[in-house]
Symmetry: C2
Subunit: 201 residues, 2 copies
Amino acid sequence: MKQQHSASDTAYEKIRDAIFEEKYERGEKLTEVKLADELGVSRTPVRDAMRKLEEEGLIKDKRVINPTIKDLMNTFDVRMLLEGFAVRQAARYMGPNQIEGLQRCVETAKQGTTEEIMEANKEFHDIIVSASNNDVLIDTIERMQSVIFLFRRTVVYHQRPRLIEEHEAILEAIRNHEEDKAEALMKSHLKKDLDFSIHSW
Amino acid sequence: MKQQHSASDTAYEKIRDAIFEEKYERGEKLTEVKLADELGVSRTPVRDAMRKLEEEGLIKDKRVINPTIKDLMNTFDVRMLLEGFAVRQAARYMGPNQIEGLQRCVETAKQGTTEEIMEANKEFHDIIVSASNNDVLIDTIERMQSVIFLFRRTVVYHQRPRLIEEHEAILEAIRNHEEDKAEALMKSHLKKDLDFSIHSW
DNA sequence: TTTATATTTATTGTATACATTAAATGGTTA
DNA sequence: TAACCATTTAATGTATACAATAAATATAAA
């Protein structure tokens, strides 16, 4: 049942994480042979991995991307549209158990460890996104995560002020089925995220 | 300067077109060896091509996709969000020469051949999308085209009523910098597209 | 018959060799 | 020196062989 992941998968993860950890510099050219040697596999799985990373936008033309502020703004503009839509669906259709899930995320974010807090806040958004019940939308947002993660220095981001309060406000709007309010709150929330990411850059 | 395309590229195009022409049935399993034989190449470029087709959503789990109405609706919901945003930017920032381009699309659509009309209407949307000046948005819409095309029976779609008039109205709103109106018109335009595609299914 | 377990077959995953193309180097001439 | 071409080197594209896995078929026991 539990399929161990293939050489391609591990290659993908390792290269991705290496990029996140800045083991490879922004703009650095990645060659198949070099990566294959480092990972101890042949070029084939490395090629697979690189193609996947190109899809996500972490690699472009065989080079580690070096996103600009504009790239981040573009990503967030799309994200605001999609998550704005998703949160409307959430406000309309979410049942008590799903709302409960959001509530738990907020609680964890109030008292967990740094790691747990980051995780819970991510989960909060994931739950709302999946409430859209739209696979195209879900996949699109998923694909953008890597670039967002690459841009955001997690150490600093953890201290982003008022984040939990904003989540709470969004949750409250969902609970009260206030679509317009939920959308507006989500958009301004993401806007603040963007601004914080830019200014702590 | 002009790079001839590789075996991977031609494999991609041939398989994609074969899917469009329903040479391969919906849901049919595509195996690498079979395709490689048919195309007269090795498995390697076929794998590349299949991976690209999976990205686009034309293949899923090695099978030709068989999109449902819900899939189409999901795609259009996202498209409405993104093109709605794009047309706002168009209304705000488009210069006379770009507007001229849109005008030409409308003209061609009024008197060209079937082929030209289809092309011009596609171009109309492309120009607006690119006016968003947002690569993330542009790429996202681009990726959705294959599924839309697969779903739309072009023969029938050519007769979609009032399409040109709707484009004209959108163009007029852009010309007058009426953002809200442009967005509303674009969304209802796409909604009619969706409905037409569903009903002519 | 049905279920379960081997055994075979088909398909995909991976490594590697070779072909082709692109990049880099070095030398020659204006 | 700078610009050009030739030659080498590196990198990617493609084919193919072999390995591992998944699917299908056959065989045996309940």
